[in-house]
């Protein structure tokens, strides 16, 4: 890359005692990117974020911020800001003082920092709450105060540690849209840590999937969903029907592990016709109405149980009885080859 990345980490390693939380991670994040680090808890994603922020010192490797090595620098010497999972608002200060804090410690004069803090609060539509204490706000409002506090100092990179984790579903979806908008308006790099794959898929330009302290796969949401590289990613990002090497050989006619997404499968009474279509017979175990679609669970005669997700489409609803004989079919292009673990 000829353009200097906003963040470059090289060989980043962090050990806590005998456990390795982060294991030789290499990563480049472009300026202005909405980048997500996705993984289950304990996968090392939050530790990478904390290493970038400077709250932890790496056991090995370097962190560069716009080409400048900041590995040994304290958090207050790094031009990145964090939105914490628990928001970490100062409980003894008003909302306005919380937001103005970063400006205050930088020596910005009182009236100027007041104005800038009010503008930042207005941007998250909380200017009328400026005089309140954080304890008098709801979870979503606190979250937006935390966001205003971190952005008012105009960092080059904003780190967000599961910022929506504590919100209920409706609010979370609303904040996802808002965050994305704010990121676009400010034009700064967002590094977003989440364990919610749907959240990561909706918001990100690129996603790094973490597993056991390493990056399992890095790509656009589309890449990850359509072409998961490993069994772990196929299983963690969305749901997948996984076929081990033997089943792949007999059912799909290819060597190695494979996966197919539930919505890429169709169920029919008769075997399908058409080039590049393959099918397998089985019996229907369960048919579940999920509103926007119908989820059907089928035991294939060849052994595995597969899940099929079909659109809630009038013509499709074949009121199959439980135990009924069906054919599950798929297009050859929808089969994804997985890299075996450790390869």
């Amino acid at each position: 890359m000829s353009v200097i990345p906003a963040i470059r980490v090289t060989g980043l390693t962090k050990q806590f005692g005998s456990t390795t939380a982060v294991d030789h991670v290499d990563l480049e994040i472009a300026a202005g990117e909405f980048f997500s680090m996705l993984g289950p808890s304990g996968s090392g994603k939050t530790t990478v974020l904390r290493l970038i922020a400077g709250f932890e010192q790496p056991t090995g490797g370097t962190v560069e911020l716009f080409g400048q090595d900041v590995t040994g620098k304290a958090p207050f010497d790094r031009d990145v800001n964090t939105v914490f999972q628990d928001y970490a608002l100062f409980p003894h200060m008003s909302v306005l003082d919380n937001v103005a804090y970063g400006l205050r410690v930088r020596g910005v004069p009182r009236t100027e920092r007041r104005d800038r803090a009010m503008r930042a609060l207005a941007a998250v539509r909380l200017d009328q709450f400026a005089g309140r204490k954080p304890s008098q706000l709801s979870g979503g409002q606190r979250q937006r105060v935390a966001l205003a506090r971190a952005t008012v100092v105009e960092p080059k990179v904003l780190l967000l540690d599961e910022p929506l984790g504590a919100l209920d579903l409706k609010l979370r979806e609303q904040m996802q849209v808002e965050l994305k908008q704010i990121q676009r308006d400010l034009g700064i790099t967002f590094i977003f840590v989440t364990h919610d794959q749907e959240e990561a898929l909706t918001m990100s330009d690129r996603i790094a999937v973490f597993h056991d302290g390493r990056i399992e796969q890095l790509g656009t949401p589309r890449d990850l969903y359509e072409r998961p590289a490993s069994r772990f990613v196929a299983d963690f990002v969305g749901t997948s029907n996984l076929f081990d090497a033997d089943l792949s050989e007999s059912l799909i006619g290819r060597r190695g592990e494979h996966s197919i997404r539930p919505e890429k499968l169709t169920v029919s009474a008769e075997p399908p016709s058409g080039a590049q279509m393959r099918s397998a017979s089985g019996s229907l175990v369960e048919s579940i109405y999920v509103g926007s679609g119908i989820r059907q669970v089928i035991d294939l005669d060849a052994g595995p149980r597969v899940t099929v997700l079909e659109r809630n489409d009038r013509s499709r609803i074949a009121d199959q009885e439980r135990g009924g004989r069906v054919h599950v079919s798929w297009h050859e292009d929808d089969v994804v080859a997985l890299i075996p673990p450790g390869a």
Binding site: P75, F76, F84, A88, L89, P91, H92, Y101, V105, V153
Partner: protein, 266 residues
Amino acid sequence: MRLSTLSRTTLAVVTGAILLVVYLPLLVVLVNSFSTSTSLTWPPPGFTLEWWVKAFESEGARQAVATSVLVACASTVVALLLGTLISFALQRFSFFGRETVSLLVILPIALPGIITGIALNNFFRTIAGVPLSIWTVIIAHATFCIVTVFNNVIARLRRMGTSLEEASADLGAGVWTTFRLVTFPQLRSALLAGGLLAFALSFDEIIVTTFTAGSGVTTLPIFILDNMFRPNQAPIVAVIAVVLVVVSVVPIYLAQRLSGSEQTRH
């Protein structure tokens, strides 16, 4: 839980009896301080303010109050400084022997005062070669006053976690600015509660004081002990005892209010 009327009545009576045993004598002292009898006969033959006037006019009593206040303030200040520092060391850093140090810090409050007294008396006079004075009392009191500050501060630090300080550093504040603007305001009520308890502990301490006070250093409790059995001094002692009760109870009450309101706030 539902209790039968009988058990409820029994429990109420027992509770009342215990509280009576604890507080009735205090009440007697209060009444006696207004008694016209110099030998504290009961019931008091009459009431007078004479002893209160005398107590306030008594040079010895005023001196004793001043000494006690000075000792309590000084040992509280020492306890606040050292107790806070050790709390930070033990809560924020892990090092070899941390648990041992933690135990050693708390131990003085459990040690019998007479042991602390004898040990410090020996140490000051024979090993350190320091003559006993008001300063030796202050040092001795600080050894157990530290514990109340330490307990309050470390509990607060534990509950606070490090995320507020991280947020402050993240926003560009250096270590001292973070302490001044974030950590200290968070600790304030814990320091106040710990400090008030320390003050109260020191103010009515007698055993350790007896062993570590230089000649002429008379704290209020020692003054009471000295005058208790002198003829015609008993009502004055009662007056001082009442003052001592009030001065010790108020800080305890405030400290409890403080930690109580903290708990409901979270």
